[in-house]
């Protein structure tokens, strides 16, 4: 059966299929969002429950190994992606392995899917075309026996996961007007390659910046300077990563433009230490910690290193800044009252307020809108746990509870998840967690991995 026949049988017009080409690889700049098709069926669950979704295996339209493997991957990844936001009740895939794959719209056994309790059914086909994959994804309302979403994707065959991620994000958008995070990435540092610093007497294992997909797939190394690199942060446009590197002996801020492959060193330290760069929400400025005036204070500069402005002025250490989503405030850590606590100050340096009253707090991370909260690491006993301060109510909720030491929380761009590092399984690894503390997933397993940041 040819693809055209299949599309015809599935009801091309009814599904409102649009063709969307994904540029090669995961590095593609975001396409402008396409308007959902005219038909908009919102799939709901029974009597207020979450809608139940089934994602059977995608159908390979040829029997070559690559197509078969891609079809398998796309089905699995799409299932996991749709599960991630906890807005759909995902029906375990093994419970419907016996339901025969539908080769045409009229052949979809909706009765069987209804028996299974499925409200939404995602089916799809995969066809190889040269170096590309053509993937047709359909979401049906089982009760209505009607298409709720349909898209055809053409993308490089080397990364079928990205097709699934794109479909997931678009299904969330069309069904729930929710911004999914399946195409987002996480930057972090790792010593997994075990390379040692050259020219030191003590044996020192370097850390380099790595990237991975939100689900931990596609882990790859970004920096290759064989020194210590720490605390990478994403620019709002997802095209650059700022980080602290000791590559010139002194810690200084570097910016890797990850698609161009260029590196900037905006401050060009002459001996002063510059740490912990964080981008303003509009991407034009960077707040950072520096000892250029003798000890740790917070400064703001333009992205090119010009216009340096000191934000804090105190004999104590002020550091670890984070911007509010509007860019009008900056939260940071200070030990001006003894133990490190979280403070917030207007971006002009005025209106300082103390936010926490705990034994030791650090690494504040402001959530994206619509949430208005700050996550941070708080000492609880011998280690740290991730807590979240709701700025409107002042309430604090704790997300982790002493399983190892949990540090360096960072928000997903939709504010519904955080990534953090933890020693709960031995060495320090990265985990994601739902903003309410559920659904902990381990992303890394090799070496020590720390100081993550989630792309915006």
């Amino acid at each position: 059966m040819t693809r055209t026949n299949l599309l015809g049988l599935w009801g091309l017009a009814a599904a409102g299929v649009t063709l969307m080409a994904i540029a090669p690889g995961a590095q593609a700049p975001q396409q402008p969002p396409q308007q959902p098709p005219a038909i908009s069926l919102t799939i709901t669950g029974e009597s207020g429950a979450l809608p139940h979704y089934a994602v059977p295996d995608f159908i390979p339209l040829s029997n070559d190994a690559e197509t078969v493997a891609a079809a398998k991957t796309i089905g699995e990844v799409l299932f996991a992606d749709l599960a991630f936001e906890r807005e759909f009740e995902m029906i375990p895939r093994d419970t419907y392995a016996s339901i025969p794959p539908a080769r045409s719209l009229s052949a979809i056994p909706f009765d069987r899917w209804r028996e299974l309790g499925a409200d939404g059914l995602v089916i799809g086909t995969v066809q190889k075309q040269g170096d590309s994959l053509r993937v047709d994804v359909r979401l049906f309302g089982v009760k209505q026996q009607q298409a709720a979403f349909g898209r055809e994707y053409v993308a490089q065959a080397s990364n079928p996961r990205f097709i699934a991620h794109t479909a997931s994000d678009e299904i969330f958008q069309s069904q729930l007007a929710l911004r999914g995070v399946a195409r987002t990435k996480i930057a972090f540092v790792s010593d997994r390659d075990g390379e040692r610093l050259v020219g030191t007497v003590e044996s020192r294992v370097v850390k380099e910046v790595y990237l991975c997909d939100y689900d931990g797939a596609n882990q790859r190394r970004l920096t290759v300077n064989r020194t210590l690199n720490i605390n990478p942060t994403w620019s709002p446009d997802g095209r650059s990563i700022a980080y602290t590197s000791y590559r010139r002996g002194v810690p200084d801020i570097f910016i890797s433009n990850i698609f161009q492959g260029t590196i900037e060193n905006p401050l060009h330290s002459r001996g002063e230490e510059n740490f912990l760069p964080v981008w303003s929400p509009d991407g034009t400025k960077i707040a950072f910690q520096s000892n250029r005036d003798g000890h740790a204070e917070i400064y703001v500069m333009s992205r090119d290193g010009s216009g340096i402005r000191r934000l804090t002025n105190n004999p104590a250490n002020d550091g670890t800044p984070t911007w509010s989503p509007t860019g009008r405030q900056i939260a940071f850590t200070s030990d001006r009252a003894g133990a490190p606590q979280i403070y917030v100050v207007d971006a002009d340096g005025l209106n300082l307020r103390l936010l926490t009253h705990e034994s030791y707090c650090d690494r504040p991370t402001w959530s994206p809108a619509p949430y208005n909260e700050i996550a941070y690491a708080s000492r609880t006993g011998s280690g740290f746990d991730v807590k979240v301060l709701d700025l409107a109510s002042g309430e604090i909720r704790q997300l982790t509870f002493g399983e190892g030491s949990n540090e360096s929380p960072a928000y997903a761009p939709n504010g519904r998840h955080l990534v953090f590092s933890s020693t709960r399984s031995g060495r320090r690894q990265l985990y994601t967690i739902d903003r309410t503390g559920r659904d902990v997933r381990q992303l890394t397993k090799v070496g020590n991995n720390q100081t993550p940041d989630w792309s915006k």
């Binding site: 020219g199 030191t200 007497v201 003590e202 020192r204 850390k207 210590l228 720490i230 605390n231 000791y246 590559r247 010139r248 002996g249 002194v250 810690p251 161009q260 492959g261 260029t262 590196i263 001996g271 230490e273 740490f275 912990l276 910690q289 000892n291 003798g294 000890h295 740790a296 250490n317 550091g319 670890t320 850590t333 030990d335 490190p340 030791y360 650090d362 690494r363 690491a377 011998s382 740290f384 540090e407 360096s408 720390q450 100081t451």
Partner: protein, 198 residues
């Protein structure tokens, strides 16, 4: 990018060449036996140490001409930077948990380090501030910096030129002892001295 990286590489290479040339040709005044520990009276930090030299005759000044052959075999001044740092005459100083105060014990170590530096006025030293693993990665950067600053300020108070003392904080990176107990933590809360130029 390749161009940029190439430039960085060239700069680093050039710096290495300068360093190694300097190491080969710049003479360093010989050092006699290590200075005896300073007396109790001399332990209090003073701001104007230069007119109160330590007991043994220090090398007169940083000379640019070749120094006379040392009478006593002088391992330190003839050694390469690596050799110096491998068996460094500059001893680390240690700090209490979450503290950057220079304790009496740390003062003793710094006094001895100051004497070494006075005998090697050409040395440029990087003071590394380190922390144990119990603080957060981020805050420890500031704490390590404070420790390095404290060690540096004490050495400056003994008359060591501030221009010759650089500081770098590593936070809790690069622990000296990879263990996870009190003994390891105590060894990791330190200011570590690295001779980076001589």
């Amino acid at each position: 990018m390749r161009h940029h990286r190439g430039m960085v590489g060239t700069v680093v290479l050039a710096a290495l060449v300068v360093l190694s040339v300097g190491a080969c040709h710049r003479s360093v005044p010989p050092v006699e036996n290590p200075a005896p520990p300073p007396s109790a009276a001399a332990q209090a930090p003073t701001l104007a140490a230069p007119d109160k030299p330590p007991a043994p005759p220090a090398p007169v000044k940083e000379s640019v001409v070749a120094a006379p052959a040392p009478i006593v075999e002088d391992r330190v001044s003839s050694a390469s930077l690596d050799e110096i740092n491998r068996n460094s005459p500059l001893k680390p100083v240690f700090f209490d948990y979450n503290q950057s105060d220079v304790s009496a014990e740390a003062q003793k170590a710094l006094d001895a380090n100051a004497d070494v530096l006075k005998h090697n006025p050409g040395w440029i030293v990087t003071i590394e501030g380190h922390c144990d693993e119990r603080g957060t990665a981020e805050y420890n950067l500031a704490l390590g910096e404070r420790r390095a600053n404290a060690a540096r300020a004490y050495l400056v108070s003994l008359g060591i030129s501030a221009d010759h003392l650089r500081t770098v904080s590593y936070g809790k990176e690069f622990p000296f002892d990879p263990g996870h107990d009190e003994a390891a933590w105590a060894r990791n809360r330190r200011a570590h001295f690295v001779v980076t130029q001589k």
